[in-house]
């Protein structure tokens, strides 16, 4: 597969917060409609990587980024509209962040901000996204109540619905299951398998088994570098190339 066919292409990405470099020149590609699992212990640069891709890193003062990230062959640092870029990417944070709005308004937030105001269109999007996030049946009768009043697991599914609301091509999930119970986690995992038909998914996770269950390929990051990136079978199989990968997935360190 050539580089041009990759959905996201990262070349020699370096990131420093102040004087401290946290990503030390990594290069890799993400294919269209794959689930890429990103595993690794805390402080290995996983979240920072996501924030570089949708350029929310811009809002952290005193950061320096070098190298390139191309989404659809376009350098994210040179796109004409950073807002359009961000709408192309759905982002789900580790802890659910319900905006202080109603359930409906939370999901309709991005479409409205993009300039969509027809009620019928919004209704359709809200229903579709909530269905995709496996939340519709639980909230369809109280769309006007505050999103922050939902339970933790429901809120997380609400943020997934919201991340889907601007019809992204790429969905980034950053340790989405930290705050939710195993049953809900499983339901969301089923949702992700379904969504993969429509979009590329980057799944950052601390649960190595989650990557094993879902990811087509898995990337093991450690201290700001890629230790190994290969198909999930290889990473979790008998013979990963790097000893550290084997140790990590077997729970020996990290």
């Amino acid at each position: 597969m050539t580089a041009a066919e990759n959905h996201i292409e990262v070349r020699d990405l370096r990131l420093s917060y102040g004087l401290k470099e946290v990503i030390h020149g990594i290069s890799f590609g993400i294919r269209r409609h794959e689930i890429l699992g990103v595993i690794g212990p805390a402080q290995s640069g996983k979240t920072s990587l996501l924030r570089c891709i949708n350029r929310t890193i811009d809002f952290t003062p005193d950061t320096h980024v070098s190298g390139t990230i191309e989404v659809d062959g376009e350098d994210v640092r040179k796109v004409r509209s950073v807002y359009a870029l961000r709408r192309k990417i759905g982002m789900v944070a580790p802890l659910p962040v319900g905006l202080p709005l109603s359930i409906y308004d939370n999901v309709a937030f991005a479409p409205r901000s993009a300039g969509l105001h027809r009620r019928a269109d919004l209704d359709a999007i809200v229903e579709q996204c909530l269905r995709q996030a496996a939340l519709w049946d639980e909230v369809k009768d109280r769309l006007e109540s505050l999103g922050t009043k939902l339970s933790g697991g429901q809120q997380q599914r609400l943020t997934i619905a919201r991340a889907l609301s601007h019809q992204p091509e790429i969905l980034c999930l950053d340790e989405f299951s930290i705050a939710i119970d195993p049953v809900t986690t499983m339901r969301i995992e089923d949702v992700l398998k379904e969504l993969r038909k429509h979009m590329t998914i980057i799944l950052v996770t601390n649960l190595t088994q989650q990557a094993r269950r879902l990811a087509d390929r898995t990337m093991f990051m450690w201290k700001g570098e890629i230790v190994e990136l290969d198909t999930t079978e290889v990473i979790f199989g008998e013979n990963p190339k790097d000893q550290r990968t084997r140790d990590y997935v077997e729970g020996i360190f990290g």
Partner: protein, 303 residues
């Protein structure tokens, strides 16, 4: 490991804790005691006026005849001053609220770290200017400017008082609104930005709704300042008992009236008591403003 189980706290630590607990309790309740105390004592001075046959509360509130020292026919109507206070406060808020909120939004969301620090120091300095200095500026600088640009014969009027009061309220509104905006969790900002909104959409659709209680508090503190401010408006409004027909008319406010006349009213006279009654009225007004604010805030919270 067992040392922790066997350990005993020193007696002074146990007693000390009780004392501090009592102190904190006292501090909490003293606020209520003081407020009640002020109300009781001001009201007590005003109360005997109601025993007076000629005095009518309706007339006090609705008449704009204020002749407390007339030989033959003393009349005590503060309606013109209520209008005076209201007009100056409303004008001040019309100017100060958009200006203050705008400044707060700029400080909290748009400007860089260095600019913010500098501006905050300047704004705090502005808040530290004594009100008599503001009054002085109104009386000399502002009044000349108003005469020059509007051609009105008298420069001390509603416009002057409103402008001065706006300048005085802006620092309060800015610093409290900025705190309210800063208190909105950064995760909201990140979440909204990740959804592809512009900075302005972020402010408008997320930050302002999320911070509305704090912002309302800021505005109402501004209103409180406007209603209660005395010295600056006394100097800047012209002190004429008169219902204004435009912003270029002179007015007298409730507070300025008390400040100017209480020293000359013999203790225990009707005049003296009516001035205290004006104090009760002011107290009631600010209480009403706070109550309304509280209700609104609570209403917002319930939703």
């Amino acid at each position: 490991m067992f040392a922790v189980r066997a350990a005993k706290r020193a007696p002074w630590a146990v007693v000390g804790e009780k004392i501090i607990e009592a102190l904190v309790y006292f501090c909490g309740f003293s606020a209520i005691v003081f407020v009640l105390g002020i109300f009781v004592f001001v009201f007590k001075e005003a109360l005997p006026i109601f025993a007076h046959e000629q005095f009518s509360l309706t007339e006090f509130l609705t008449s704009s005849d204020w002749y407390p020292t007339s030989e033959s026919n003393k009349r005590y109507g503060v309606f013109a001053m209520i209008v005076g206070t209201a007009s100056v406060t409303v004008l001040a808020m019309v100017i100060a609220v958009p200006f203050g909120l705008g400044a707060a939004i700029y400080l909290s969301e748009f400007c860089g770290q260095k600019t913010r620090e500098t501006l905050k120091i300047v704004i705090e300095l502005l808040a530290a200017v004594p009100s008599v200095v503001w009054g002085f500026i109104g009386l000399t600088v502002m009044s000349k400017l108003i005469v020059q640009y509007t051609g009105t014969p008298v420069g001390v009027n509603v416009l002057n008082g409103g402008l001065i009061l706006a300048l005085m309220s802006v620092p309060i509104i800015v610093s409290i609104s900025e705190d309210a905006l800063k208190a909105v969790p950064d995760s909201y900002r990140e979440a909204a930005i990740a959804l592809g909104v512009t900075r302005w959409q972020l402010v408008w659709r997320v930050l302002l709704p999320a911070a509305k209680q704090g912002l309302l508090a800021a505005v109402l503190l501004g209103v409180g300042r406007g209603v209660g401010e005395t010295m600056a408006v006394l100097m800047a409004t012209g002190h004429a008992v008169h219902i204004p027909h435009g912003v270029l008319d002179s007015v007298r406010t409730l507070t300025a009236n008390i400040a100017a006349e209480l020293g000359e009213a013999p203790a225990g006279s009707d005049h003296y008591r009516v001035l205290f009654l004006t104090g009760v009225l002011l107290f009631t007004l600010t209480f009403a403003v706070n109550l309304i604010a509280d209700t609104i805030v609570r209403g917002i919270r319930r939703k």
